[in-house]
């Protein structure tokens, strides 16, 4: 954080790390952690040492709250969302919460309207349609 302005995700005033680093959605993290879990089990005689509580709680959470389970669908979600000029953080919030209406999408990510990148509601509508299509054919 630059420190001068207080952070506020609703206005996309977030830490620099969110703008620089790669942000990941629940469904992407579920795939990574599942894979890691298997690796850790195999690697060590005593896997409990390396599987922390933070890891376990996060794994349970992302498995429960991932809207998309199939790895192909997960890839498509990122691809579709990347076509709209979204910040990484916004992209992940939309992919996680899967809003159903334009009003809901704007309530979840108010910054998509403020920054003047997606100005038209019908563009948001198209984005939401694209997302629900992926879910339908998963």
């Amino acid at each position: 954080m630059s420190g001068e302005e207080e952070e506020n995700a609703a206005e996309l005033k977030i830490g620099e790390e969110f703008l620089k680093a790669k942000c990941l959605m629940n469904c992407e993290v579920a795939i990574i952690l599942d894979h890691k879990y298997e690796q850790l089990q195999q690697m060590s005689d005593d896997p409990t040492n390396q599987i922390s509580q933070v890891f376990e709680k996060s794994l349970q959470y992302v498995k429960r709250f991932s809207r998309y389970k199939n790895p192909d669908a997960v890839r498509q979600v990122r691809e579709v969302l990347s076509r709209y000029k979204l910040a990484e953080f916004e992209l992940c919030v939309l992919g996680n919460l899967c809003p159903e209406t334009v009003e809901e999408a704007i309530a979840m990510v108010p910054s998509i309207k403020n920054k003047g990148r997606i100005q038209e509601d019908d563009q948001i509508e198209k984005l939401l349609n694209d997302l629900s299509l992926i879910k339908k054919f998963e």
Binding site: N8, A21, K22, L24, V29, K36, Q50, S52, V54
Partner: protein, 176 residues
């Protein structure tokens, strides 16, 4: 919840008995020690929660510590992290119901307080299964899944965790 993959430096300390002429064993010792260090560290104010090491990018030349004989290896690795942010919208589940509000948990974050004052028209109902009920008969009880907004957060150094304040004031927030 938005996760981050961040590259970061670390110093791994290896005791002399683990130094092996077979390179692979040394590499394994370094990885195991790094995973343990990160699991123990849990979280930091700067990065948020450390969830998993996803890649080890480089291991630099080790430096011997003269007093102990331990060798210090500077490494660079990628870590999956989760840092809660003010104003973001999260999904969590109800952990505990108290008269003055609700404790929620969400992923690695254990301590999220939703005060009764931040619940608009929900009222506390005592009983064997205490709950909060709204006029529209929407219920908040143990294990209810709730969408909420982060109103504020505090880093607790002693517990190595964040404490969050939640609110339901806003459209499309509440039990789902």
């Amino acid at each position: 919840m938005v996760f981050l993959e961040v590259e970061m430096p670390w110093n791994v300390l290896i005791s002399p008995d683990q130094l092996s002429p077979k390179g692979l064993l040394l590499q394994k010792a370094i990885i195991v020690r790094l995973l343990e260090d990160i699991a123990n560290r849990k979280a930091s104010k700067e990065h948020g929660y450390y969830i998993a090491v996803t890649a080890l990018n480089s291991i630099d030349e080790g430096k011997v510590r003269e007093l102990t004989g331990d060798v210090l290896f500077p490494v660079s690795f990628n870590c999956l992290t989760q840092k809660p942010t003010k104003g973001e919208i999260l999904v969590g589940s109800v952990d505990k119901i108290l008269k003055h509000g609700i404790f929620l948990k969400s992923g690695p974050i254990d301590s999220i307080f939703l005060s009764e004052k931040m619940m608009r028209d929900y009222k506390y109902v005592a009983g064997e299964n205490p709950m909060f009920l709204s006029e529209k008969h929407s219920k908040l009880e143990k294990d209810t899944v709730v969408r909420f907004k982060v109103l504020g957060l505090k880093w607790l150094e002693a517990d190595r965790q964040f404490q969050l304040l939640a609110t339901l004031a806003g459209d499309f927030l509440g039990p789902i």
